[in-house]
Amino acid sequence: MFDNFLRYVTGTVDFCAEGADSEGFLGFCIKNGIEIMNPRKTGYVFFGTVFARDYKKLRKPAKKFGLKFKIIKKNGIYFSARKNKNKIGFAAGMVFVVFIVFLLNQFIWEIDVSGNSEVNTEDILASAEKYGLFPGTFSGKHKTDTMEWFILNENEGLASVEINIQGSKANIIVNEALEKPEMVPDDDIPVNIIASRYGVIERMEVFDGQKIAKTGDAVMKGDLLVSAVFEDRHKKLTLKHARAKVIARTDYILDVEFPLEQKLTEKGKLRKNIYDFEILGINFSFGNKEKYKDCIIQTEEKQLMFFWIKLPFKLITTRFYSVKEKGITYNFEQAKDGAYALLSEKEKTEMKDMEIISRKVTEKVKNNKYILKAEYICLMDIAEEQPIESDTPWENTDDMS
Protein backbone atom coordinates (compact mmCIF):
# COMPACT_ATOMS: atom_id res chain seq x y z
CA MET A 1 0.00 0.00 0.00
CA PHE A 2 2.84 2.36 0.91
CA ASP A 3 4.51 1.48 -2.41
CA ASN A 4 1.38 2.46 -4.29
CA PHE A 5 1.14 5.73 -2.38
CA LEU A 6 4.80 6.48 -3.10
CA ARG A 7 4.26 5.75 -6.78
CA TYR A 8 1.23 8.04 -6.82
CA VAL A 9 3.19 10.87 -5.21
CA THR A 10 6.31 10.53 -7.36
CA GLY A 11 4.38 9.73 -10.57
CA THR A 12 4.75 6.78 -12.90
CA VAL A 13 4.44 6.16 -16.65
CA ASP A 14 2.93 2.99 -18.15
CA PHE A 15 4.47 2.33 -21.53
CA CYS A 16 4.63 -0.27 -24.27
CA ALA A 17 7.56 -0.95 -26.56
CA GLU A 18 7.40 -2.83 -29.82
CA GLY A 19 10.47 -4.69 -31.04
CA ALA A 20 12.30 -7.98 -31.02
CA ASP A 21 14.88 -7.59 -28.28
CA SER A 22 12.83 -6.32 -25.38
CA GLU A 23 14.59 -8.72 -22.97
CA GLY A 24 17.93 -7.13 -23.85
CA PHE A 25 16.37 -3.72 -23.29
CA LEU A 26 15.08 -4.83 -19.89
CA GLY A 27 18.48 -6.16 -18.82
CA PHE A 28 20.20 -2.99 -20.03
CA CYS A 29 17.81 -0.77 -18.07
CA ILE A 30 18.26 -2.77 -14.86
CA LYS A 31 22.04 -2.67 -15.28
CA ASN A 32 21.89 1.12 -15.65
CA GLY A 33 19.74 1.68 -12.59
CA ILE A 34 16.41 2.27 -14.35
CA GLU A 35 13.80 0.32 -12.46
CA ILE A 36 11.11 -1.17 -14.67
CA MET A 37 8.09 -2.29 -12.69
CA ASN A 38 5.73 -5.05 -13.70
CA PRO A 39 7.56 -6.04 -16.94
CA ARG A 40 5.55 -8.37 -19.22
CA LYS A 41 5.43 -9.28 -22.88
CA THR A 42 2.64 -10.15 -25.25
CA GLY A 43 3.96 -11.26 -28.61
CA TYR A 44 6.46 -8.62 -29.71
CA VAL A 45 5.01 -5.94 -27.46
CA PHE A 46 6.73 -5.28 -24.17
CA PHE A 47 4.83 -3.56 -21.36
CA GLY A 48 6.25 -1.93 -18.26
CA THR A 49 6.02 0.93 -15.80
CA VAL A 50 8.77 3.38 -14.85
CA PHE A 51 8.98 6.30 -12.49
CA ALA A 52 8.23 9.56 -14.30
CA ARG A 53 11.73 10.87 -13.62
CA ASP A 54 13.25 7.80 -15.40
CA TYR A 55 11.09 7.91 -18.50
CA LYS A 56 13.41 10.22 -20.44
CA LYS A 57 16.32 7.88 -19.68
CA LEU A 58 14.59 5.14 -21.68
CA ARG A 59 15.06 6.85 -25.03
CA LYS A 60 18.69 5.88 -25.50
CA PRO A 61 18.35 2.17 -24.74
CA ALA A 62 15.14 2.03 -26.79
CA LYS A 63 17.03 3.38 -29.78
CA LYS A 64 19.89 0.97 -29.12
CA PHE A 65 17.62 -2.08 -29.05
CA GLY A 66 15.39 -0.87 -31.88
CA LEU A 67 12.20 -0.48 -29.93
CA LYS A 68 9.28 1.74 -30.81
CA PHE A 69 7.93 3.45 -27.73
CA LYS A 70 4.42 4.52 -26.77
CA ILE A 71 3.04 5.96 -23.53
CA ILE A 72 -0.11 4.20 -22.34
CA LYS A 73 -0.92 6.15 -19.21
CA LYS A 74 0.59 8.71 -16.90
CA ASN A 75 -0.24 8.21 -13.22
CA GLY A 76 0.39 10.34 -10.17
CA ILE A 77 -0.52 13.52 -8.42
CA TYR A 78 1.59 15.69 -10.72
CA PHE A 79 -0.13 14.43 -13.88
CA SER A 80 -3.62 14.66 -12.28
CA ALA A 81 -2.98 18.28 -11.34
CA ARG A 82 -1.78 19.13 -14.88
CA LYS A 83 -4.74 17.36 -16.41
CA ASN A 84 -7.21 19.34 -14.30
CA LYS A 85 -5.49 22.70 -14.53
CA ASN A 86 -8.47 24.12 -16.46
CA LYS A 87 -10.77 23.17 -13.60
CA ILE A 88 -9.30 25.81 -11.34
CA GLY A 89 -12.71 26.87 -10.07
CA PHE A 90 -13.48 23.38 -8.87
CA ALA A 91 -10.09 23.12 -7.16
CA ALA A 92 -10.56 26.55 -5.58
CA GLY A 93 -14.01 25.46 -4.38
CA MET A 94 -12.56 22.34 -2.81
CA VAL A 95 -9.86 24.36 -1.08
CA PHE A 96 -12.51 26.81 0.12
CA VAL A 97 -14.71 24.01 1.50
CA VAL A 98 -11.73 22.47 3.29
CA PHE A 99 -10.85 25.89 4.69
CA ILE A 100 -14.43 26.51 5.88
CA VAL A 101 -14.59 23.08 7.52
CA PHE A 102 -11.23 23.71 9.15
CA LEU A 103 -12.43 27.13 10.32
CA LEU A 104 -15.70 25.78 11.71
CA ASN A 105 -13.78 23.06 13.47
CA GLN A 106 -12.03 25.73 15.49
CA PHE A 107 -15.29 26.56 17.29
CA ILE A 108 -17.37 24.61 19.77
CA TRP A 109 -20.67 23.55 18.27
CA GLU A 110 -21.70 20.71 20.52
CA ILE A 111 -21.46 20.26 24.27
CA ASP A 112 -22.10 16.85 25.70
CA VAL A 113 -22.61 16.21 29.41
CA SER A 114 -22.19 12.70 30.74
CA GLY A 115 -21.99 10.94 34.08
CA ASN A 116 -24.81 12.86 35.81
CA SER A 117 -28.07 11.41 37.01
CA GLU A 118 -29.13 13.62 39.94
CA VAL A 119 -27.64 16.95 38.88
CA ASN A 120 -29.47 18.49 35.91
CA THR A 121 -27.67 18.67 32.58
CA GLU A 122 -29.19 22.14 32.12
CA ASP A 123 -27.58 23.33 35.38
CA ILE A 124 -24.17 22.08 34.30
CA LEU A 125 -24.56 23.68 30.87
CA ALA A 126 -25.69 26.94 32.50
CA SER A 127 -22.56 26.95 34.68
CA ALA A 128 -20.39 26.21 31.65
CA GLU A 129 -22.07 29.04 29.73
CA LYS A 130 -21.50 31.41 32.63
CA TYR A 131 -17.77 30.78 32.38
CA GLY A 132 -17.64 31.06 28.60
CA LEU A 133 -18.20 27.55 27.29
CA PHE A 134 -21.19 27.58 24.94
CA PRO A 135 -21.81 26.75 21.26
CA GLY A 136 -20.10 29.19 18.95
CA THR A 137 -17.07 29.96 21.11
CA PHE A 138 -13.50 29.55 19.89
CA SER A 139 -12.25 26.21 21.14
CA GLY A 140 -8.68 27.38 21.71
CA LYS A 141 -9.49 30.10 24.22
CA HIS A 142 -11.00 27.91 26.95
CA LYS A 143 -9.02 27.36 30.10
CA THR A 144 -10.52 24.02 30.99
CA ASP A 145 -8.81 23.72 34.40
CA THR A 146 -10.36 26.95 35.69
CA MET A 147 -13.70 26.14 34.12
CA GLU A 148 -13.78 22.69 35.71
CA TRP A 149 -13.16 24.28 39.10
CA PHE A 150 -15.96 26.83 38.60
CA ILE A 151 -18.49 24.23 37.47
CA LEU A 152 -17.55 22.00 40.40
CA ASN A 153 -18.06 24.83 42.89
CA GLU A 154 -21.32 25.97 41.39
CA ASN A 155 -23.02 22.56 41.38
CA GLU A 156 -23.17 21.10 44.83
CA GLY A 157 -23.88 17.52 43.86
CA LEU A 158 -20.69 17.08 41.85
CA ALA A 159 -17.53 15.39 43.06
CA SER A 160 -15.40 15.92 39.97
CA VAL A 161 -15.61 17.61 36.57
CA GLU A 162 -13.48 16.98 33.50
CA ILE A 163 -13.74 18.94 30.27
CA ASN A 164 -12.30 17.49 27.08
CA ILE A 165 -12.41 19.56 23.92
CA GLN A 166 -12.08 17.51 20.75
CA GLY A 167 -12.42 19.57 17.61
CA SER A 168 -15.83 21.20 17.65
CA LYS A 169 -17.16 19.09 20.51
CA ALA A 170 -16.75 19.65 24.22
CA ASN A 171 -17.32 16.71 26.54
CA ILE A 172 -18.11 17.53 30.14
CA ILE A 173 -17.63 14.37 32.15
CA VAL A 174 -18.85 14.60 35.72
CA ASN A 175 -18.88 12.36 38.75
CA GLU A 176 -21.61 12.90 41.24
CA ALA A 177 -20.95 13.09 44.96
CA LEU A 178 -22.65 10.63 47.27
CA GLU A 179 -25.32 12.37 49.28
CA LYS A 180 -24.44 12.89 52.89
CA PRO A 181 -26.94 11.26 55.23
CA GLU A 182 -28.88 13.98 56.96
CA MET A 183 -28.33 13.89 60.70
CA VAL A 184 -31.58 15.21 62.08
CA PRO A 185 -31.73 15.18 65.86
CA ASP A 186 -35.01 13.44 66.62
CA ASP A 187 -35.03 14.18 70.33
CA ASP A 188 -36.57 17.61 70.06
CA ILE A 189 -39.87 16.71 71.75
CA PRO A 190 -40.99 13.86 74.00
CA VAL A 191 -42.76 11.25 71.89
CA ASN A 192 -44.65 8.04 72.67
CA ILE A 193 -44.86 5.13 70.27
CA ILE A 194 -48.41 3.95 69.68
CA ALA A 195 -49.91 1.33 67.40
CA SER A 196 -50.96 2.71 64.00
CA ARG A 197 -53.31 -0.26 63.49
CA TYR A 198 -54.42 -3.42 65.26
CA GLY A 199 -52.31 -6.58 65.18
CA VAL A 200 -50.32 -9.17 67.09
CA ILE A 201 -46.77 -8.11 67.86
CA GLU A 202 -44.23 -10.47 66.28
CA ARG A 203 -41.05 -8.66 67.29
CA MET A 204 -39.94 -5.33 68.77
CA GLU A 205 -36.76 -3.32 68.45
CA VAL A 206 -36.77 -0.47 70.99
CA PHE A 207 -34.04 2.09 70.50
CA ASP A 208 -35.18 4.65 73.05
CA GLY A 209 -37.98 4.90 75.63
CA GLN A 210 -39.69 2.50 78.00
CA LYS A 211 -41.03 -0.70 76.45
CA ILE A 212 -44.67 -1.21 77.42
CA ALA A 213 -45.99 -3.87 75.03
CA LYS A 214 -44.24 -7.17 74.47
CA THR A 215 -43.95 -9.80 71.76
CA GLY A 216 -47.16 -11.82 71.40
CA ASP A 217 -49.43 -9.02 72.64
CA ALA A 218 -52.54 -8.23 70.65
CA VAL A 219 -52.83 -4.47 70.34
CA MET A 220 -55.52 -2.16 69.04
CA LYS A 221 -55.04 1.03 67.12
CA GLY A 222 -53.77 3.77 69.46
CA ASP A 223 -52.43 1.43 72.16
CA LEU A 224 -49.23 2.59 73.83
CA LEU A 225 -46.29 0.43 72.77
CA VAL A 226 -43.24 2.38 73.95
CA SER A 227 -43.52 5.14 76.48
CA ALA A 228 -41.64 8.40 76.46
CA VAL A 229 -41.55 8.37 80.27
CA PHE A 230 -38.41 6.56 81.27
CA GLU A 231 -37.72 5.50 84.82
CA ASP A 232 -34.08 4.83 85.63
CA ARG A 233 -32.75 2.60 88.39
CA HIS A 234 -32.79 5.51 90.86
CA LYS A 235 -36.54 5.86 90.22
CA LYS A 236 -35.95 9.13 88.50
CA LEU A 237 -38.35 9.93 85.67
CA THR A 238 -37.12 11.49 82.45
CA LEU A 239 -38.93 12.17 79.21
CA LYS A 240 -37.57 10.66 76.01
CA HIS A 241 -38.20 10.81 72.31
CA ALA A 242 -39.12 7.14 72.04
CA ARG A 243 -37.95 5.30 68.95
CA ALA A 244 -38.85 1.72 68.05
CA LYS A 245 -39.66 -0.69 65.30
CA VAL A 246 -42.71 -2.82 66.11
CA ILE A 247 -43.42 -5.57 63.62
CA ALA A 248 -46.94 -6.94 63.98
CA ARG A 249 -49.03 -9.49 62.17
CA THR A 250 -52.03 -7.66 60.80
CA ASP A 251 -54.32 -7.56 57.83
CA TYR A 252 -54.40 -5.22 54.88
CA ILE A 253 -56.89 -4.68 52.08
CA LEU A 254 -56.33 -3.52 48.51
CA ASP A 255 -59.12 -2.71 46.05
CA VAL A 256 -58.65 -2.58 42.32
CA GLU A 257 -61.14 -1.66 39.58
CA PHE A 258 -60.69 -2.30 35.88
CA PRO A 259 -63.38 -0.76 33.62
CA LEU A 260 -64.63 -3.12 30.92
CA GLU A 261 -65.12 -0.21 28.55
CA GLN A 262 -62.26 2.22 28.19
CA LYS A 263 -61.33 5.10 25.96
CA LEU A 264 -57.78 5.20 24.68
CA THR A 265 -56.11 8.07 22.91
CA GLU A 266 -53.81 7.32 20.03
CA LYS A 267 -51.89 9.09 17.29
CA GLY A 268 -54.16 10.05 14.40
CA LYS A 269 -53.42 11.63 11.04
CA LEU A 270 -50.44 13.88 10.48
CA ARG A 271 -51.78 17.42 10.57
CA LYS A 272 -48.66 19.52 10.10
CA ASN A 273 -44.87 19.39 9.82
CA ILE A 274 -43.02 22.41 11.11
CA TYR A 275 -39.33 22.75 10.35
CA ASP A 276 -36.81 24.59 12.50
CA PHE A 277 -33.25 25.33 11.48
CA GLU A 278 -30.63 25.74 14.14
CA ILE A 279 -27.66 27.56 12.70
CA LEU A 280 -24.69 28.39 14.90
CA GLY A 281 -26.88 27.85 17.96
CA ILE A 282 -29.63 30.22 16.77
CA ASN A 283 -33.06 28.74 16.10
CA PHE A 284 -35.12 29.75 13.06
CA SER A 285 -38.68 28.44 13.12
CA PHE A 286 -40.91 28.25 10.04
CA GLY A 287 -44.43 27.89 11.38
CA ASN A 288 -46.80 28.62 14.24
CA LYS A 289 -46.64 25.85 16.81
CA GLU A 290 -49.18 27.40 19.19
CA LYS A 291 -51.97 26.55 16.79
CA TYR A 292 -51.33 22.83 17.15
CA LYS A 293 -50.62 22.62 20.87
CA ASP A 294 -53.50 20.17 21.46
CA CYS A 295 -52.00 17.64 19.05
CA ILE A 296 -49.65 14.75 19.76
CA ILE A 297 -46.18 16.15 19.11
CA GLN A 298 -43.17 14.25 17.81
CA THR A 299 -39.79 15.89 17.31
CA GLU A 300 -36.89 14.67 15.21
CA GLU A 301 -33.45 16.26 15.04
CA LYS A 302 -30.99 15.85 12.20
CA GLN A 303 -27.44 17.04 12.58
CA LEU A 304 -25.63 17.95 9.39
CA MET A 305 -22.30 16.18 9.02
CA PHE A 306 -19.29 16.68 6.81
CA PHE A 307 -17.89 13.17 6.77
CA TRP A 308 -17.32 12.57 10.50
CA ILE A 309 -17.31 16.25 11.51
CA LYS A 310 -20.51 17.62 13.01
CA LEU A 311 -21.46 20.93 11.45
CA PRO A 312 -23.26 23.63 13.44
CA PHE A 313 -26.48 23.14 11.47
CA LYS A 314 -29.48 21.21 12.72
CA LEU A 315 -32.78 20.51 11.05
CA ILE A 316 -35.51 20.00 13.61
CA THR A 317 -38.77 18.55 12.33
CA THR A 318 -41.80 18.82 14.60
CA ARG A 319 -44.71 16.62 13.57
CA PHE A 320 -48.19 17.34 14.85
CA TYR A 321 -50.66 14.46 14.85
CA SER A 322 -54.36 14.69 15.58
CA VAL A 323 -55.59 12.94 18.73
CA LYS A 324 -57.77 9.96 18.00
CA GLU A 325 -60.00 8.51 20.69
CA LYS A 326 -60.74 4.84 20.49
CA GLY A 327 -63.26 2.94 22.57
CA ILE A 328 -62.21 -0.53 23.70
CA THR A 329 -64.45 -3.17 25.22
CA TYR A 330 -62.65 -5.88 27.15
CA ASN A 331 -64.04 -9.35 27.73
CA PHE A 332 -63.93 -10.83 31.24
CA GLU A 333 -60.67 -12.70 30.69
CA GLN A 334 -58.90 -9.59 29.42
CA ALA A 335 -60.35 -7.49 32.21
CA LYS A 336 -59.27 -10.06 34.80
CA ASP A 337 -55.69 -9.99 33.48
CA GLY A 338 -55.74 -6.20 33.50
CA ALA A 339 -57.09 -6.06 37.05
CA TYR A 340 -54.46 -8.50 38.33
CA ALA A 341 -51.74 -6.46 36.64
CA LEU A 342 -53.04 -3.35 38.41
CA LEU A 343 -53.15 -5.23 41.71
CA SER A 344 -49.57 -6.38 41.30
CA GLU A 345 -48.50 -2.81 40.59
CA LYS A 346 -50.36 -1.56 43.66
CA GLU A 347 -48.75 -4.24 45.83
CA LYS A 348 -45.32 -3.10 44.69
CA THR A 349 -45.96 0.51 45.60
CA GLU A 350 -48.25 0.38 48.66
CA MET A 351 -46.92 -2.76 50.31
CA LYS A 352 -43.22 -2.45 49.53
CA ASP A 353 -42.29 -2.34 53.26
CA MET A 354 -44.57 -5.21 54.24
CA GLU A 355 -44.00 -8.93 54.24
CA ILE A 356 -46.98 -10.77 52.78
CA ILE A 357 -47.88 -13.99 54.57
CA SER A 358 -51.09 -14.84 52.72
CA ARG A 359 -53.45 -13.30 50.16
CA LYS A 360 -57.10 -13.95 49.45
CA VAL A 361 -58.63 -12.33 46.38
CA THR A 362 -62.34 -12.02 45.63
CA GLU A 363 -63.50 -11.06 42.15
CA LYS A 364 -66.75 -9.50 40.99
CA VAL A 365 -68.18 -7.53 38.11
CA LYS A 366 -70.22 -4.48 39.06
CA ASN A 367 -71.20 -1.33 37.18
CA ASN A 368 -69.32 -2.52 34.10
CA LYS A 369 -66.13 -2.82 36.13
CA TYR A 370 -64.02 -5.83 37.04
CA ILE A 371 -63.38 -5.42 40.75
CA LEU A 372 -60.73 -7.21 42.81
CA LYS A 373 -60.61 -7.13 46.57
CA ALA A 374 -57.40 -8.56 48.00
CA GLU A 375 -57.17 -9.31 51.72
CA TYR A 376 -53.67 -9.85 53.04
CA ILE A 377 -52.23 -11.15 56.24
CA CYS A 378 -48.89 -9.51 56.52
CA LEU A 379 -46.11 -8.32 58.78
CA MET A 380 -45.70 -4.58 59.00
CA ASP A 381 -44.22 -1.91 61.19
CA ILE A 382 -47.09 -0.45 63.22
CA ALA A 383 -45.02 1.99 65.29
CA GLU A 384 -46.37 5.54 65.12
CA GLU A 385 -44.91 8.51 66.91
CA GLN A 386 -47.28 10.53 69.08
CA PRO A 387 -45.98 13.68 70.72
CA ILE A 388 -47.07 14.06 74.33
CA GLU A 389 -48.21 17.22 75.94
CA SER A 390 -46.87 17.41 79.42
CA ASP A 391 -46.17 20.08 81.96
CA THR A 392 -43.18 18.13 83.17
CA PRO A 393 -40.02 20.02 82.25
CA TRP A 394 -38.55 18.41 79.15
CA GLU A 395 -35.00 17.42 79.75
CA ASN A 396 -33.10 16.13 76.83
CA THR A 397 -30.84 13.37 78.00
CA ASP A 398 -29.59 12.22 74.63
CA ASP A 399 -26.09 12.92 73.47
CA MET A 400 -27.18 13.92 70.01
CA SER A 401 -28.79 17.32 70.26
Binding site: S22, L26, I30, G33, P39, R40, K41
Partner: protein
Amino acid sequence: MVKSLDVPTEIQSGFYIELYSEKEIVLTGRVDVIELGESVLKLRYFEHRIEICGEKLFIAAYTPDGIRICGKIIKIEFS
Protein backbone atom coordinates in the same frame (compact mmCIF):
# COMPACT_ATOMS: atom_id res chain seq x y z
CA MET B 1 39.55 -19.22 4.63
CA VAL B 2 36.01 -19.87 3.45
CA LYS B 3 36.22 -23.38 4.83
CA SER B 4 37.64 -22.25 8.14
CA LEU B 5 34.89 -19.68 8.55
CA ASP B 6 32.30 -22.32 7.65
CA VAL B 7 30.61 -20.03 5.09
CA PRO B 8 27.75 -21.80 3.21
CA THR B 9 28.83 -22.91 -0.23
CA GLU B 10 25.98 -21.13 -2.02
CA ILE B 11 27.19 -17.79 -0.66
CA GLN B 12 30.73 -18.72 -1.55
CA SER B 13 29.74 -19.21 -5.18
CA GLY B 14 27.23 -16.32 -5.20
CA PHE B 15 24.60 -18.72 -6.61
CA TYR B 16 21.53 -18.65 -4.41
CA ILE B 17 17.94 -19.60 -5.27
CA GLU B 18 14.96 -19.54 -2.91
CA LEU B 19 11.75 -21.30 -3.78
CA TYR B 20 8.55 -20.58 -1.82
CA SER B 21 6.23 -23.50 -2.55
CA GLU B 22 5.31 -23.42 -6.24
CA LYS B 23 4.26 -19.78 -6.17
CA GLU B 24 7.42 -17.74 -5.89
CA ILE B 25 11.09 -18.01 -6.78
CA VAL B 26 13.84 -15.58 -5.80
CA LEU B 27 17.24 -15.55 -7.47
CA THR B 28 19.87 -13.47 -5.72
CA GLY B 29 22.60 -11.85 -7.76
CA ARG B 30 22.96 -10.66 -11.32
CA VAL B 31 20.23 -12.12 -13.54
CA ASP B 32 19.60 -11.50 -17.24
CA VAL B 33 16.23 -12.16 -18.78
CA ILE B 34 16.62 -14.01 -22.08
CA GLU B 35 12.99 -14.70 -22.80
CA LEU B 36 9.99 -13.12 -21.17
CA GLY B 37 6.63 -14.82 -21.29
CA GLU B 38 3.67 -15.83 -19.16
CA SER B 39 4.35 -19.55 -19.43
CA VAL B 40 8.13 -19.62 -19.96
CA LEU B 41 10.83 -17.44 -18.48
CA LYS B 42 14.42 -18.02 -19.58
CA LEU B 43 17.15 -16.52 -17.46
CA ARG B 44 20.90 -16.32 -17.50
CA TYR B 45 22.23 -16.75 -13.99
CA PHE B 46 26.01 -16.80 -13.63
CA GLU B 47 27.24 -19.55 -15.96
CA HIS B 48 23.83 -21.29 -15.95
CA ARG B 49 20.76 -20.98 -18.05
CA ILE B 50 17.55 -21.47 -16.14
CA GLU B 51 14.20 -22.13 -17.70
CA ILE B 52 11.15 -21.64 -15.53
CA CYS B 53 7.91 -23.05 -16.86
CA GLY B 54 4.53 -22.38 -15.35
CA GLU B 55 1.28 -20.48 -15.61
CA LYS B 56 0.70 -16.73 -15.28
CA LEU B 57 4.34 -16.08 -14.49
CA PHE B 58 5.36 -12.48 -13.91
CA ILE B 59 8.32 -10.53 -12.63
CA ALA B 60 7.28 -9.01 -9.30
CA ALA B 61 10.62 -7.29 -8.72
CA TYR B 62 13.77 -6.94 -10.80
CA THR B 63 16.91 -5.12 -9.65
CA PRO B 64 20.64 -5.53 -10.24
CA ASP B 65 20.71 -7.55 -6.98
CA GLY B 66 18.21 -10.19 -7.98
CA ILE B 67 14.85 -11.09 -9.38
CA ARG B 68 11.56 -12.26 -7.84
CA ILE B 69 9.21 -14.23 -10.04
CA CYS B 70 5.67 -15.10 -9.02
CA GLY B 71 2.96 -17.25 -10.54
CA LYS B 72 2.36 -20.98 -10.67
CA ILE B 73 5.75 -22.64 -11.14
CA ILE B 74 5.60 -26.10 -12.71
CA LYS B 75 9.18 -26.80 -13.78
CA ILE B 76 12.68 -25.38 -13.24
CA GLU B 77 15.34 -26.55 -15.64
CA PHE B 78 19.09 -25.91 -15.49
CA SER B 79 21.37 -26.16 -18.47
